[in-house]
């Protein structure tokens, strides 16, 4: 599994605050961003309500992101359980699709790289408002409470931006 995917699977960035600071030595302005990382995973159950159309039937928090699963209930009454990798392969195979996209609009979206700050599950992705409320107040609230928050710094123009970076080599 690529590192990109594994990292995306559990990290969402959101700009909690922007603190523009000035370093006295370099006069560079920095942006401070708070990175919110889910420490819990989620099991999302999606149900095929019409051919190729899925709604989220339930979502439960699980101890770690690696425990995350998508349970797909097909209209022919079969049920499959996928890890995120397996779900992606299934969709890419073209055999049966749509369930992963539906899941991405729920809490599972955080496991797929959606921002924990900028993204909120869409009530329209759930089978009904009651399910949406239950998930939001239950698993959703717990995932937000248990998220790990760290701070990253990056210059507004990027490090090295003030140098004449294109005019000279830094090799020797």
């Amino acid at each position: 599994m690529s590192k990109t995917f594994s990292f995306l699977a559990f990290v969402g960035l959101f700009m909690c605050c922007i603190a523009c600071g000035t370093d006295s030595d370099s006069a560079i302005q920095y942006e401070t961003e708070v990175v919110s990382t889910p420490t819990q995973g989620v099991v999302t159950t999606v149900k095929e309500v019409r051919e190729g159309e899925f709604k989220i039937e339930d979502e439960e928090a699980v101890p770690t992101p690696d425990d995350s699963r998508i349970i797909a209930k097909w209209s022919d009454s079969t049920v499959d359980t996928f890890t995120l990798d397996e779900a992606r392969l299934e969709e890419e195979s073209g055999r049966r699709g749509g369930f992963m996209t539906a899941a991405s609009y729920g809490l599972m979206g955080y496991m797929m790289g959606r921002s924990m700050g900028g993204f909120r599950p869409s009530s329209g992705a759930y089978v009904d408002q009651k399910t949406y409320n239950k998930v939001s107040n239950g698993a959703g609230a717990r995932m937000q409470q248990t998220a790990k928050r760290t701070t990253i710094s990056k210059p507004k123009s990027g490090f090295g931006g003030k140098s004449s970076s294109s005019s000279r080599s830094y090799g020797g």
Partner: protein, 392 residues
């Protein structure tokens, strides 16, 4: 006679350079950079360069430890904000020094082999050495060439991967945007791919995100971040320490918390400093490969010395004094603000036109490739020609 060592070779063709992604060398300023002559060395001479490099590397590490023991950081130009990491790196990261290049004087025609300096941090000339001189020597079947730059770097990378099985084998190579730096990082990238890194990405520094809690990232699309466990920087440590102190602080945390392996390690800044040459000559005053060096010109009453900035590149801001109080040769540059280091003059091999030849040996946990530059002046600077070599 040195001229007898010169063997005609084909210039690298435009097609070859373009195919190798080296169109940079076709630009107007570089049109006379390569030569149609190669320098022939005897095998014993190459072995002597290798042996000297082996020995000098150990001696440089000893000199670096002497600096640390004396706490002489300021004396060798290590700013206060870099001391913590350089000290940590010297104590813990000796296995991480991926690449350096020794620049020598002499070494041919029984001329004494002398260390001019060690480019320990962000050495260049890599594509010329790895690809161009190999191409130029391809038709010279009766000769060999000592050119193991990529294989030896590959071996060093493999050692790193074996040493850190818990880390994800991805590598980010950062540079400041100059094309020459980019094509040099591409050589390192090629070695990393051969070694088994599954993801190798090259990126300008300004696009790289650093977190003292999480490590080193690149945003590959909106809200999608790639984290890198291994980082190679074609950006000098002294530039980071002096010009980007916040980045120095972040990298100190990232390295000490083991959030990423940063290559070359911070102690390469100490080996890169010309100040280390003073400690080297103090420790080994009678070594045949080491020139006397000092922080004061008065230590050279014969007025025969080179004056160099503590951190300088490609021969910039260097003065050569050949017995007079006025310099015989001077170069301009961007590094004149650094304190000076004074080094005894060395004799270079020269041809009948008076052009001097500076051999260099790459180091990647072992001596691994030779290259030569030629200059029609006393200072080997950015206007020097790159020369291939052949081994008889």
């Amino acid at each position: 006679m040195f001229d007898d060592r010169l063997e005609f070779v084909d210039l690298p063709s435009k097609k070859f350079l373009k195919k190798q992604g080296l169109s940079f060398f076709l630009e107007e300023d570089n049109e006379d950079y390569f030569t149609d002559e190669a320098v022939v060395l005897f095998k014993a001479e190459v072995e002597a360069f290798k042996a000297a490099s082996e020995q000098l590397y150990k001696q440089l590490i000893a000199a670096a430890k002497e600096v640390a023991q004396q706490g002489a950081w300021e004396r060798v130009g290590i700013p206060e904000n870099a001391v913590e990491l350089v000290q940590y790196s010297l104590a813990n990261e000796s296995h991480l020094h991926l690449l350096g290049r020794f620049d020598f004087a002499g070494g041919m025609d029984n001329m004494p082999l002398k260390l001019i300096e060690f480019n320990a941090d962000t050495c260049s000339l890599m594509p010329e050495t790895a690809y161009v001189q190999a191409e130029q020597s391809a038709k010279k079947r009766k000769f060999r060439q000592f050119n193991q730059l990529i294989p030896q770097m590959t071996a060093s990378f493999k050692n790193l991967l074996n040493r850190y099985p818990e880390k994800y084998p991805n590598l980010l190579l950062m540079h400041m945007g100059h094309e020459e730096d980019q094509i040099n990082t591409e050589v390192v990238a090629a070695a990393a791919r051969k070694a088994g890194f599954s993801e190798v990405h090259i990126m300008r520094l300004e696009h790289v995100i650093f977190s003292e809690d999480e490590g080193v990232f690149v945003e590959i699309s909106a809200n999608n971040y790639n984290k890198y466990d291994f980082v190679y920087k074609m950006i000098p440590w002294e530039f980071i320490a002096y010009e980007e102190p916040e980045l120095m602080r972040l990298l100190t945390q990232i390295v000490k918390k083991d959030l990423a392996i940063v290559l070359n390690p911070a102690f390469s800044m100490l080996l890169q400093s010309k100040g280390i040459l003073k400690y080297l000559s103090d420790l080994y005053p009678n070594d045949s490969n080491i020139l006397k060096a000092s922080f004061t010109a008065s230590d050279f009453p014969d007025l025969r010395y080179a004056r160099k900035p503590m951190f300088g590149r490609v021969g910039e801001n260097v003065q050569i004094f050949t017995g007079s109080s006025s310099p015989a040769s001077t170069t301009d540059g961007d590094f004149g603000h650094f304190p000076s280091v004074y080094q005894e003059l060395a004799e270079f091999n020269a041809d009948e036109d008076g052009d001097i030849y500076q051999p260099s040996m790459y180091w990647s946990n072992a001596p691994c490739a030779l290259c030569i530059r030629r200059r029609d002046d006393l200072i080997v600077d950015d206007d020097a020609e790159f020369m291939s070599h052949l081994v008889e």
